[in-house]
Symmetry: C2
Subunit: 207 residues, 2 copies
């Protein structure tokens, strides 16, 4: 990995632990293994490093959501997948999303940084809301709306269903961000949650 991206990487690590303002450029340089002034051969200011992280994440996120169709686009989710939705499918979906959010190194550190910086400026506020509230909720909502019209699930407000499904995942995610040691406990609770969710919403004759 070249210096320019090593700077981005080290900076993200530090920003995600202490926040932008609490990290000095000397600290970033130290982590990279160079002296502070050398940073300016690659980025023209500290802000510029931060912006670099931001745009790097932006492209990663767009790539990710494009493959998952998780963004707000009106592209229809493939209906064939849902012809055989079982409890295991739901659990796999939930746990999969959870562990991706929690264990993808870049995603995880970026989320922590967003958490710390979310009140600092409007752009970050919007970004956090998009990535961890609106996009997941609208994604899940579309899925449950389909499962409803397919007749596999009981007819119910899809937005509320999405909230029921996603909110526990979100709460446990923020918990594990703070206390990684509690991940096993969180995973167990998450699985129980999805099992009960499925039991509640699944049509009796569909199982």
């Amino acid at each position: 990995m070249n210096t320019k991206s090593r700077i981005l990487d080290s900076a993200l690590t530090l920003f995600s632990e202490k926040g932008y303002h609490s990290v000095s450029v000397a600290e970033i340089a130290d982590a990279v293994g160079i002296k502070a002034p050398s940073l300016y051969k690659h980025y023209k200011s500290k802000r510029d490093i931060f912006n670099g992280i931001l745009s790097e994440m932006q492209t990663r996120y767009e790539k990710q959501t494009a493959t998952l169709q998780m963004n707000g686009s009106n592209a229809a989710v493939d209906a064939d997948i849902f012809s055989s939705v079982s409890e295991d499918t739901l659990i796999q979906m939930g746990i999969g999303l959870f562990t991706y959010f929690l264990h993808d190194d870049y995603v995880c550190r970026f989320r922590k940084m967003l958490t710390i910086e979310q009140f600092h400026n409007a752009e970050l506020t919007t970004l956090y809301t998009k990535q961890y509230t609106d996009d997941p909720l609208s994604y899940q909502s579309r899925i449950f709306s389909m499962l409803g019209t397919c007749g596999l699930f009981r007819p119910a407000n899809a937005d509320v269903m999405a909230l029921h499904f996603y909110a526990p995942l979100y709460l446990l995610l923020t918990l594990c961000d703070r206390e990684p040691a509690r991940e096993p406990e969180a995973l167990q609770l998450l699985e129980q949650h999805i099992r009960q969710f499925n039991q509640i919403y699944k049509k009796e004759n569909a199982q």
Copy 2:
């Protein structure tokens, strides 16, 4: 209000918006209407101001949870209250908790500060988890456990029920912390959530 508590108040406001490190003592002093060195007549350091906020909040929280019996104490929740739990009772409980969290000035600013500072040191990590995850969940869990044994609700894992009830509230709370303008939307969704929650878990013959 005397100067000493005005300092605490102004500092909390600033810390909750920008974080501890991004706020200078001069800024705090400015907000109070005095010069920076005068702060040191009341607190011996910037850290000391922060600690002042912390211990102030600690006592407030303990007072609050004591009256709500929301802490982890083994004191039994009064069973009489639950003899007549209706949908409206649940909604009132949820909306009440939500609006208290969101509109109590001190609670709200302190939560934002905790959100920003939660990764900085272990004490704040623990405090956040306690106040916004463990305590509310165990409180709700105890309630639903009682409602289950009373026969008003379907028998189900009370911990999961607590998660189902509280997690959406938590998600919408953090949303409104970021974007206060979306409170009406959040409130509406919260009410729908609780209505559906009640419909799902309430025993058919009990309604």
